[in-house]
């Protein structure tokens, strides 16, 4: 089953809407609470990344009996050095974004920690794509 959510860049007041929606779906499917929690944390971080850095983006969610597959893609500045971006604490967030309590440099590392598989691809000046898979039973 597939779901698609649009993410608006720069609108922090709506950050969390897509992850909340996915959370509601997983609850209806009787997915283990701990798994839901991991997925939602990863999704929320991903959503905030798009809001903080990109013009716009979307979240594509594909769920079957065994797993949830998420693809978050944005049109934004892209990531020049993905390995560096994956390091805890590394951040390119603006001072304004940090003032709002975001941009601590934990986004991508947290997403990786909370998913079973993650793949980041990016092109500077065009945008970033993150693909994550989490299995419902370990």
């Amino acid at each position: 089953m597939e779901f698609r959510y649009e993410i608006e860049g720069g609108n922090f007041s709506r950050a969390g809407h897509a992850s909340s929606a996915v959370k509601k779906i997983l609850k209806q499917l009787n997915v283990d609470n701990r798994v839901i929690k991991r997925v939602v944390v990863a999704l929320y971080e991903g959503e905030v990344n798009v809001v903080a850095h990109a013009d716009k983006g979307s979240m594509l969610v594909d769920i079957d009996e065994q797993r949830i597959k998420i693809r978050i893609e944005d049109t934004g500045p892209g990531i020049p050095d993905i390995d560096l971006a994956m390091q805890a604490g590394f951040s390119t967030a603006s001072a304004a974004v940090r003032e709002m309590g975001f941009g601590a440099g934990m986004g991508l590392p947290n997403m990786k920690k909370n998913t079973d598989q993650m793949r980041v691809t990016s092109e500077v000046g065009k945008g970033t794509q993150v693909e994550m898979i989490t299995w419902f039973s370990q």
Partner: protein, 459 residues
């Protein structure tokens, strides 16, 4: 275990309920449906918050209470009274007057539940020191605990493991009387409740431990009795207010109000009241959006227990009176002397296990089946109008879609689908009326001039 149902204090009086949608629309868990012209509550979804009762235009909801005469089954009749009981009276009626009249009414002892708050507070601080997962959530409000069980099951581990003041005080007072030589069978402890949710704690026995409370009396009932007693009498009461009634300190007086617990916990603490605010905040906690908060005081009612559905006085005036009292007794600290020897006794008896998660949202326990059902729900949502009018007897279109999938309703329950079906000659007009009567009751659409707002209202 999933089949086991919650005990519920909230009931619908079918003689009074005429089938409108007020309760269904305000229920924060979507637990109400209209069938045969009456509201029906889904027991496993209801959290006893009382919003339906507050919204009902004809007072069709009621809270089951024990027969008052039940107190006479016991030789020692103890009333456990929360501070809001006093707060709801006008300030010219004194605390001792209220307690005197309660003794005239038949109680041998009156004890204020918040006297044992220090024991609870101590246990809460201990638990907070050891906790690894934050924020910890107060276990004070039973409606909130149930809300988390059904709607936020992933957060049950963060609910504190301390019983509320009712239990603690009942445990103390029973032991105190026993130590004075009173046989247990002679002790009747009755809790005067400000809300429906607290009754459930008393009536749902925890594993192998009977409730220390023998019965429950609704606060509005006792309020009327006491006020009547005071009004019908000139001069002061014939009875003394009774011993064992030291004044509560400021912490105890305000404990059940909003911001009652939060100022006394360590770290970053927040107090949130009113059920929709609580739901909104818990959504964020569950998403991990809320960082670095140590403690959450969550209350289902606006203004905390002062806003309880059985509190007669206006909640803002009740809270004001209690805050004024807290100011007046600001120098009183700690427990009354006769409770001190019981500190350890209470502490060892007032912890509770983590409440069971009871997820209400799931479509099926089997994820594969649930996925199929969700696909069906999404398909039905393509046809339903999204007006959320409630004319089908479910609170909104999505609820109806879920009810259809769970075989508790039909697509033709929707009045707009009915019109479309009639247009395509798939449904006869008479049949449509029969469907509506099934939801709203027979003859529901007949002219009736006695309904609220009509020509002969109330006749």
């Amino acid at each position: 275990m999933a089949e086991e149902q919650f005990y519920h204090a909230l009931k619908v009086n079918n003689n009074l309920c005429f089938g409108c949608t007020h309760c269904m629309n305000v229920c924060p868990t979507g637990a109400i449906r209209i069938r045969d012209g009456k509201a029906s509550i889904r027991k496993n979804w209801c959290i006893d918050c009382g919003d339906c009762m507050k919204a009902c235009p004809v007072d069709a909801f009621y809270i089951e209470q024990d027969d008052f005469d039940k107190i006479y089954n016991y030789k020692y009749r103890v009333a456990l009274v929360p501070a809001v009981m006093i707060g709801q009276f006008p300030s010219n009626i004194s605390e001792s007057e209220i307690f005197s009249v309660m003794r005239e009414l038949g109680f041998t002892h009156v004890f204020q539940t918040e006297h044992t708050v220090d024991v609870i507070h101590e246990l809460m601080l201990e638990e907070a020191r050891k906790a690894t997962e934050k924020p910890l959530i107060s276990s004070f409000c039973p409606a909130v605990v149930r809300l988390i069980q059904v709607k936020f099951p992933s957060l049950v581990d963060q609910i504190m493991h301390v019983k509320p003041p009712i239990d603690t005080s009942a445990i103390f007072f029973r032991k105190k009387l026993q130590d004075e030589g009173v046989p247990d069978a002679d002790i009747g402890i009755f809790y005067v409740t400000p809300c429906a949710a607290k009754i459930a704690i008393v009536k749902s026995p925890v594993k192998d431990r009977p409730s220390p409370v023998n019965g429950v009396i609704n606060m509005d009932f006792l309020y009327n009795k006491v006020l009547q007693g005071i009004k019908n009498r000139s001069g002061s009461s014939t009875r003394s207010p009774g011993d064992n009634l030291p004044n509560l300190g400021p912490k105890h007086i305000s404990w059940s109000l909003t911001n009652g617990e939060a100022p006394y916990m360590k770290g970053r603490c927040l107090a949130i009241d009113e059920i929709h605010n609580v739901i909104d905040f818990l959504e964020r906690v569950e998403n991990d959006e809320i960082q670095d908060v140590d403690f959450l005081e969550l209350r289902a009612c606006d203004e905390g227990c002062a806003g309880g559905v059985l509190v007669v006085g206006n909640r803002f005036l009740t809270a004001e009176r209690l805050r004024n009292r807290a100011q007046l007794f600001k120098d009183i600290h700690g427990m009354p002397d006769d409770l001190v020897p019981y500190r350890e006794y209470m502490k060892s008896r007032v912890t509770v296990e983590t409440p069971e998660p009871r997820p209400m949202l799931m479509l099926d326990t089997d994820t594969g089946v649930a996925l199929q059902k969700m696909e069906q729900v999404r398909k039905f949502m393509c046809y339903l109008p999204g007006i959320d009018c409630g004319a089908c007897g479910s609170p909104n279109c999505l609820s109806l879609a879920r009810d259809i999938v769970q075989r508790e309703a039909q697509l033709s329950s929707c009045v707009f689908i009915q019109r479309t079906m009639e247009k395509h000659r798939k449904l006869h007009g008479d049949h449509a009326i029969r469907i509506i009567e099934k939801t709203w009751g027979k003859d529901r659409l007949d002219k009736d001039c006695t309904k609220i707002g009509a020509k002969d209202e109330g006749a």
